[in-house]
Amino acid sequence: MICVKVNGRQETLPENYTIAQLLSQKELDASYVVVQLNLEIIERSLLSVTTLNEGDQLEIVKFLGGG
Amino acid sequence: MSFAQHMESYDEQKCWQLLESTDSNKVRMLLTKASLSPADFLLLLSPAAEAVLEPMAQKARQLTIKHFGRNILLYTPLYLSNYCVNHCLYCQFHAGKKIAREQLSLDEVEAEGKSIAATGIRHLLLLTGESCAHATSAYLSDCLRKLHPYFASLGLEIYTLSTAEYAQMIQAGAESLTLYQETYRQESYAQLHLSGPKRDYFNRLNAAERACQAGMRRINIGALFGLAPWRQEAFWAGIHAYYLQKQYPATEIAISLPRIRSSQEGFTVPCPVSDKELVQILLAFRLFLPQAGITISTRERAELRDNLLPLGVTTMSVGSKTTVGGYFAGEKKGSQQFPVADERSIGEIKEMIRRQGYQPVMKDWPNMAVAKKTEAKK
């Protein structure tokens, strides 16, 4: 198991877990969110091939109403 | 973007059509607007605006007092050199003229400067012809440095320079640049400038901009009225000033209305401008560019200058000699670049200005170098 930080919260995840797997665990549609891994934006096409490592910091953001 | 490119964004055909098709009521309406667009400015130059000159004059006077107070800044020109390689048909100093060529030595420059400063004048305009063998930029820098202690402001009216050379002039003490396009009409420009570097229309057109980029504090532009149809010339000169004001907010933009008269030696003015037309140009400039300084030189006769003063003028030349030197050494230095029509002394001009309820101003800008020196002496 590995420890990663997702949107500021500690999460324990299996090894070799991809970002796409994490998104579907969270019931998030990948086409509606933007993912930043250790301050680097991950292109959507790479989400299913990018695996998470111990200590990674992940930010998942989405659009909402704003002025 | 350069001004040359900016000019292309106007449809000239359409502009000149608009000039002819407006009516005086439209012009009258413009006088109630808080600020005018280039299209409005065009209408002020129309034949229809002739019927509205008096209301235009009232508004112009009011605007000028609002932005400048009742002040008229006085300056004097000093010709440093009449060597010139350009052949400009209208100029008495052009390369083809058989005249005595003179260039002041640095000592003579200082002597002339002292003589002028003794009259109370603190704004000096330095002029030369274009000749890389004579009035070089190094020579001009030296002249500026020599004169700097005696004057609050030194201006240049010389051939065009590069941005780096303008910066060099500023370093040496130049505070302002006067540079007339002569004519904005390319065709006329080509016909009037037969040879020499000045033949390059676009180089001259973009030079004011280079001076702005170099950090020149004031730029004075204009057309030499009489060389081409005046409505079009005035329009482009106004648009040029407007463009520079917008593009270079740190530079003070001023505009002049020099008018060429037929010379003794056979140059016939192609498109003469009457007094009334000159007034219309002056009023249109003032209404369109409320913050721009406007200069009337001693090319104009005394009586006319007195009448133009309250219509938007902020700057006047005075005690002008258009020979090389001429203040200290007398008139021995040969021929004039153009005839001076208002030969009144500084004292007489000051008196006239006061009589009209205005204040003659000898300096409106402190030369810090001089201030420091005086301070140090105490």
Binding site: G8, L28, V34, I41, K62 | R61, P249, V279, P310, L311
Partner: protein
């Protein structure tokens, strides 16, 4: 009258009413946007909250609408730049409204950081529309940095107080070549009309529509006000200030 289109970046826009989507209930979103005739809407970017199951706002915005993410939440240029890049990765194009607000009491923007962010994001290929306090020098600097428009505030965000900054905005409209969009403070249709009469290129508003009892009707009211103000501006309004006639003529010498 020919088509009066507003050019921003590579787009030509017919509607001069830009709409913020904050506080508008999602089910009403489409109706409000259509009633306003809006072609440009702003959205914000936030961390996903795993404890809530929100619907996706993009599903409620009609196709063809230009989406302009803002950088709200940013307190520095660096944060705004990061948010802008995240937003672009969200796949809604390259427009961004820069909003850098360190002041949490009045929500006034930091013009200096806004300028820094603008310089960088223009280099990064964004169509940048900075929100700013109306200041001519800053507006000209933003323009020189390559901003696609400048968006001075009419009054502090959300106050509905109208064009309190009118004089300063007027100067920016006079002097800037890029479109000037009045953003924030517009509370009533008459405020929007006033901004357009002055020569603003567009207005951006949110609260006034979002918090109306009937947002759809209010959206329509603003649409009409913006159109009316624009038409009046184009028609060329007569000025109000007369000028005094001096007793003696100034041009008598010409006769």
């Amino acid at each position: 009258m020919g088509k009066d289109l507003l050019a921003i970046g590579n787009s030509l826009i017919a509607s001069r009413l830009f709409l913020g989507t904050g506080k508008i209930p999602l089910p009403k979103m489409k109706q409000v946007i259509e009633a306003a005739g809006t072609q440009v809407v702003t959205v914000a970017l936030r961390r996903v909250d795993f404890d809530r199951r929100d619907e996706n706002i993009l599903d409620f915005i009609p196709d063809g609408t230009i989406i302009m993410p803002n950088t709200s939440g940013a307190r520095t240029a660096a944060e705004a730049i990061r948010l802008a890049h995240l937003a672009r990765a969200g796949g809604c194009g390259d427009w961004v409204k820069i909003e850098v607000i360190p002041d949490q009491k009045y929500l006034l923007p930091d013009n200096f950081e806004t300028l820094k962010a603008t310089e960088q994001l223009v280099k990064d290929g964004f169509t940048v529309l900075p929100y700013m306090s109306p200041d001519l020098v800053v507006a000209k600097s933003l323009e020189a940095a390559g901003a696609a428009a400048v968006m001075p505030l009419g009054a502090p965000i959300g106050t509905n107080r109208g064009l309190k900054m009118k004089e300063l905005i007027n100067i920016i409209i006079e002097e800037c070549h890029v479109p000037v969009i009045v953003d924030a403070g517009i509370g009533r249709p008459s405020h929007a009309a006033e901004a357009m009469e002055m020569g603003a290129s567009a207005v951006l508003l949110n609260t006034a529509i979002a918090t109306a009892d009937d947002s759809v009707a209010m959206a329509l009211a603003f649409r009409l006000a913006v159109e009316s103000g624009r038409i009046a501006y184009l028609a060329g309004m007569g000025g109000e200030t007369g000028y005094a006639r001096a007793s003696s003529p100034l041009t008598g010498f010409l006769d």
